[in-house]
């Protein structure tokens, strides 16, 4: 008989550190990253699953992005009196980047709620589910990049030389050059931010189910507040308000953190003027965001399976 008696149990080794410890939180994140085959597979599965039984499958991601970009590009270039050759690429890239970011925010809130079954039935680091969400969005981003490549091919000659998005009043943009390579670190930085967003908002949303609808309505508002279908040229144009130089209006964009995220990736992709302060802001937010995610992970990691 191998059952230990009560007397032996009393002499058991001291209990392990409590579930609220930095080392357990770190362990979860490190172990989560290590299981990349798992979240990689789950992320792919999500994409395949969404378009199972449809004829063109994940190509729908690409196609719907193309339709939106062309429609909005045509409409807004007319509204703002901009050249379609440069405004369409601007909107397309802005929209692709926005899709990834809003995806992180919206699907991030659903990271743990949506994986309730798995969380309650299979022991795995929580980080795996956050990475699953970010990886799925990365794959969707990759599908959308096809639209970018097509648009780039069509308007190549307009984008590679200096151009203005808004005629006359707009800033002179340098055009696409070697700086396009900056898009790679920019996207990596965006994906890293997706990680903390999914962990932080995912855990808060699991506890407070009002958070997802709050984020939902905020995201659609922020979309209109962010220069995606309009340009910052419009904000700085002196003519609008009549009096004053109008330079304060740029704060509408500058105070919006998502503007900086859009800008670090969009600028190299369409060859507009790069401003280093965008990178600084994003870098700072990355550090702050991960610090918050780490604190929440330490305090509430063990509670998530109780809350879902």
């Amino acid at each position: 008989m191998s059952v230990t008696s009560t007397a032996e149990q009393e002499q058991a080794p001291p209990p392990p550190p409590s579930s609220r410890s930095w080392s357990r939180a770190r362990e979860d994140i490190v172990e989560g990253f290590r299981q990349r085959e798992l979240w990689g597979h789950l992320g792919w599965q999500d994409i395949k699953q969404r378009y199972r039984r449809s004829v063109i499958g994940p190509l729908w991601i690409t196609l719907s992005m193309a339709i939106t970009a062309i429609g909005l590009g045509l409409l807004y270039s007319q509204l703002f009196g901009a050249h379609i050759q440069t405004f369409l690429p601007y909107i397309t890239v802005g929209f692709i980047v926005w899709n990834f970011m809003s995806g992180c925010l919206l699907e991030g809130t659903d990271t743990f709620i949506g994986n309730e079954g798995l969380i309650k039935h299979l022991p795995a680091p929580l980080t795996v589910y956050a990475l699953r969400t970010v990886w799925r969005l990365t794959l969707m981003f990759a599908h959308n990049l096809v639209v970018y490549v097509i648009v780039l091919a069509i308007f190549w000659s307009d984008l590679t030389g200096p151009y203005r998005i808004t005629p006359v009043t707009g800033t002179l943009e340098p055009g696409i050059g070697l700086s396009i390579l900056l898009a790679i670190p920019a996207f990596i930085l965006l994906a890293i931010n997706g990680g903390w967003v999914a962990i932080l908002f995912g855990i808060i949303s699991t506890r407070y189910r009002d958070i997802p609808p709050v984020i939902n309505s905020l995201v659609s508002l922020i979309f209109f507040m962010t220069p995606i279908v309009w340009t910052t040229d419009i904000l700085t144009a002196t003519k609008i308000g009549g009096e004053g130089d109008g330079s304060w209006r740029i704060l509408i964009a500058e105070l919006n953190p998502l503007y900086h995220y859009v800008q670090i990736l969009r600028a190299p992709l369409i060859g507009t003027e790069q401003n280093w302060h965008h990178w600084a802001v994003v870098g700072g937010l990355t550090v702050v965001g991960w610090a918050m995610a780490f604190v929440v992970m330490r305090n509430y990691r063990a509670r998530v399976s109780y809350w879902v």
């Binding site: 191998s2 230990t4 149990q9 080794p13 599965q45 969380i119 407070y208 189910r209």
Partner: protein, 272 residues
């Protein structure tokens, strides 16, 4: 070294009703002052003061009424729930088979479910690709593995889940009730594999209401009652106490023979 140690662990579930789960209550509660006891989230004490020590080679059956805490205890042992008070430590590669409907995606094929389960249990994709043929053969599902899981019967799901966990050499196997859904022939096959597994430096914890299954797979037992461990001892003693009668007395001859117990010996309580 495979072991499970639990010290004075309790598991309390907060039950958020629609109101207390929202921010509204939290905000209004602070502004409007006390609303009496309503401010507290009601709690269900699923497990209370559990102390347990299991080691290599243990094959433990979990018995108890519905809602006694068997499934929660299994999840505590798996590390899914960390105790709200006390502590628990599980050393070894854990493979749980819990609720069979959940944790598997009904829309994707059996093969893909095998892959996902395997990856969750710490295998790599390559390792799982090698195991697939073995699992297909063991589960006897054949071409059915290409079909989406929603077309499977309960028994077929059990076969799939058991096929995966037994093929990956886990050290700690946690089975919830439900595996009784398979037919006798498959059960005999599964039993050999499970016993083999436990003998190869493993541990098994199995919750069930079926005596014959418990006797096939376990040698000791824990009786759970209202979140406590009411009794922990040899399987036969625990079942006798729990049911109020000797389990062998009601088993038919065939089952006893399969278990390797001489019917004549059943009158002798010292022999299990």
């Amino acid at each position: 070294m495979v072991s499970i140690n639990v010290w004075n662990a309790s598991v309390d579930f907060p039950i958020f009703d629609a109101k207390s789960r929202s921010l509204k209550k939290l905000v209004l509660g602070k502004v409007g002052g006390k609303i009496g006891t309503e401010q507290k989230v009601p709690i269900i004490e699923a497990l209370h003061d559990i102390t347990l020590s299991l080691k290599e080679g243990d094959r433990v059956g979990l018995v108890g009424h519905n809602g006694a805490g068997k499934s929660t205890l299994l999840r505590l042992l798996a590390g899914i729930y960390e105790p709200t008070r006390g502590s628990a430590r599980t050393l070894g590669k854990v493979a749980p088979v819990f609720d069979l409907g959940v944790g598997m995606d009904p829309e994707i094929s059996g093969l893909e479910n095998i892959m996902i389960r395997g990856l969750f249990l710490g295998m790599t994709r390559k390792q799982m690709e090698k195991k697939v043929d073995d699992i297909a053969e063991f589960t006897e599902l054949g071409d059915y593995l290409q079909m989406p899981l929603r077309t499977y019967s309960t028994g077929m799901r059990v076969r799939l889940a058991l096929g995966v966990v037994t093929s990956i050499d886990p050290e700690i196997l946690l089975l919830d009730e439900g595996i009784g859904a398979v037919d006798a022939a498959f059960l005999a096959k599964a039993r050999t594999r499970l016993v083999d597994l436990v003998n190869r430096s493993g541990m098994l914890v199995f919750a069930s209401h079926q005596d014959d299954l418990l006797f096939e797979l376990c040698d000791s037992a824990i009786w759970m009652d209202e979140g406590h461990i009411k009794m922990h001892g040899s399987l036969r003693e625990v079942i006798t106490q729990y049911k109020g009668r000797d389990p062998f007395a009601s088993m038919d001859r065939e089952t006893l023979e399969r278990l390797g117990i001489e019917p004549a010996l059943t009158t002798n309580p010292s022999e299990v």
